[in-house]
Amino acid sequence: MTTNTSPRRRLKLSVVLDHSVLIIGAAFMIVPVLMLLQMTTVADLINMKTGPSLMIGDQLDDNFMKAMFKADGFAGDNTGLRMLINSLILGLGFAAGKIVLGMMAAYAIVYFRMRFATLAFWIIFTTLLLPLEVRILPSYEIVQKLGMLNTFHGLIVPLIASATATFFFRQFFRSIPEELVEAARIDGAGPVKFFIDILVPLSQTMIAAMFIIMFVYGWNQYLWPTMITTDEDMFTLVRGIKQIAQSQEGTTLPEYGRSNMLALIAILPPVLVVVFFQSWFVKGLTESDK
């Protein structure tokens, strides 16, 4: 350690260093997406020749209109707007379904004396051992047999069982003081009334936290929609992204403006949710994964 620099000066230097590291980190995260944005503002011909640059053009709204309303493919049904709606349905359905099922199961496990409670717990727990990726083929076959290909319930229902949500609510219910249940029982509330009038309102913050995690998770699904949906009007934004990226290859004038705009539209809603509801999101993430 150098002794001739004053502590004050050393402190300043370390503050500068801290901020530099954080600024470099923030730039590392954000610059790639700013690059996408820049490419949507210039004409495709320029993009094709020079790629990303510092030039800001005037094509932004043009590319936005193209991304939202222009369709390609065979049926011509996969406009950005259609994909956006499908993504929303998947994200919201996923989140709502997981929360409802998770709360119901957690309520049954925590508040009832039941012969099969441990068994039910283990049945739910073992789903953690079977990620979709290791059982894709047989899962696909079953959904096909049930005639659920290219449907919203085929997209949502098979993925809706959730050990994460169940354990999250189980943990929370266990932290609620027992006196509350007793008081409710003295007041004559049955199990259904207690659940709807007391437990659900008490869980609001938890529900919000879980909702954000699961909405982002559902919105960002890729493998499952890729297999289950072949009709273009069923594509979600994330599902359609590969086609979009592939359309950048091998054509005479790749539509970088449109495809990058679609990528941005796919990024924006979940990012906004995470940024605006940051404290709930962090709570949901750090408390559910443990």
Binding site: G25, V33, Y111, E133, V134, P138, S139, N220, Q278
Partner: protein, 293 residues
């Protein structure tokens, strides 16, 4: 079990039925199906199947392609895990320390959590575009002729970089909340005992973060194995060819493209066993952590 308050007999069963039915149909049935198919050889045209015992498994271990994918998966997982954990830890320590702009930094470092892996892959393709990709240009400046999709190691490099970019936010959030939960009294005591900031970090902060680190280690391994599917698929543009691929991607390619149901199922079963082992380790660690605190 702490409590059991309502004595209703049918209601709890009714509450559990939807979840359990869905699990039965969409988790157990496919898993058992995969286990069964892994012992059979399917006719590619759908004319029946023959029982072949463990032949699907033994032939996997003789396939050079499987060995290559396994080797790649191990190195990929190690690199992604180590890099994203250490970079995120650095950011978290700094974000915990600064007084000004802490919230802004936190937001800027975590929002990428919400970006879907395949979209991250698409961004990577642009960064590494052969003729004008900014990173391709940068590497060319240093004499490295980067060729995404052509050179095996270059493609692997791009996959690692994209996967790390996508994983830093989760690790950052967990490390930061771990750091913030260290009691002020502990920090102050460390301040008195140890003047050097790096000494304080290694002697006090780092051990206190160890439980978070163990937990994240498992999470990152799982992420590298499974959640990177979208990145791999977009980077190789659906054409595996000679490109590097992970074991999970190989299940998909062999089963869906190659129509090798038996081989693909055997691969699935191997991965299920792997996940089982990791979950057991994870829960042991969680248990131990409860004893610490």
């Amino acid at each position: 079990m702490k409590r059991a308050v309502f004595a209703n007999r049918w209601l709890p069963i009714l509450l559990l039925v939807p979840q359990v039915v869905i699990i039965g149909i969409f988790f157990y049935w496919p898993a058992i199906h995969a286990l069964r198919s892994s012992f059979f050889l399917q006719d590619p045209f759908g004319f029946g199947e023959t029982f072949v015992g463990i032949e699907n498994y033994t032939s996997l271990f003789h396939l050079p392609a499987y060995g290559r994918a396994a080797m790649f998966t191990v190195s990929f997982t190690l690199l992604v895990t180590i890099l994203s954990l250490s970079i995120a830890l650095l950011f978290a320590v700094k974000a915990d320390k600064v007084l000004r702009g802490a919230k802004t930094y936190r937001t800027l470092l975590m929002w990428v959590y919400a970006v879907a892996p395949p979209v991250a892959g698409v961004i990577g393709i642009i960064l590494f575009n052969q003729s004008w990709g900014p990173l391709t240009d940068l590497f060319k400046f240093f004499g490295w002729d980067f060729a995404l999709g052509v050179n095996y190691y270059d493609t692997a490099f791009a996959m690692v970089l994209i996967a790390v970019w996508k994983q830093i936010p989760v690790n950052f959030i967990f490390f930061l909340s771990g750091l913030q939960s260290i009691p002020k009294s502990v920090r102050e005591a460390a301040m008195i005992d140890n003047r050097s900031a790096s000494g304080r970090f290694w002697d006090v902060t780092f051990p206190l973060l160890a439980p978070t680190g163990f937990f994240l280690l498992i999470t990152n391994i799982t992420y590298s194995l499974f959640d990177t599917f979208g990145i791999i698929d977009t980077v190789v543009k659906g054409e595996p060819g000679n490109n590097p691929m992970t074991l999970v991607y190989k299940i998909y390619v062999d089963g869906f493209r190659g129509n090798d149901l038996g081989g693909s199922s055997a691969q699935s079963v191997i991965l299920m066993v792997l996940v089982l082992a990791m979950t057991v380790v994870q829960f042991r660690l969680v248990e131990r952590r409860i004893h610490y605190t």
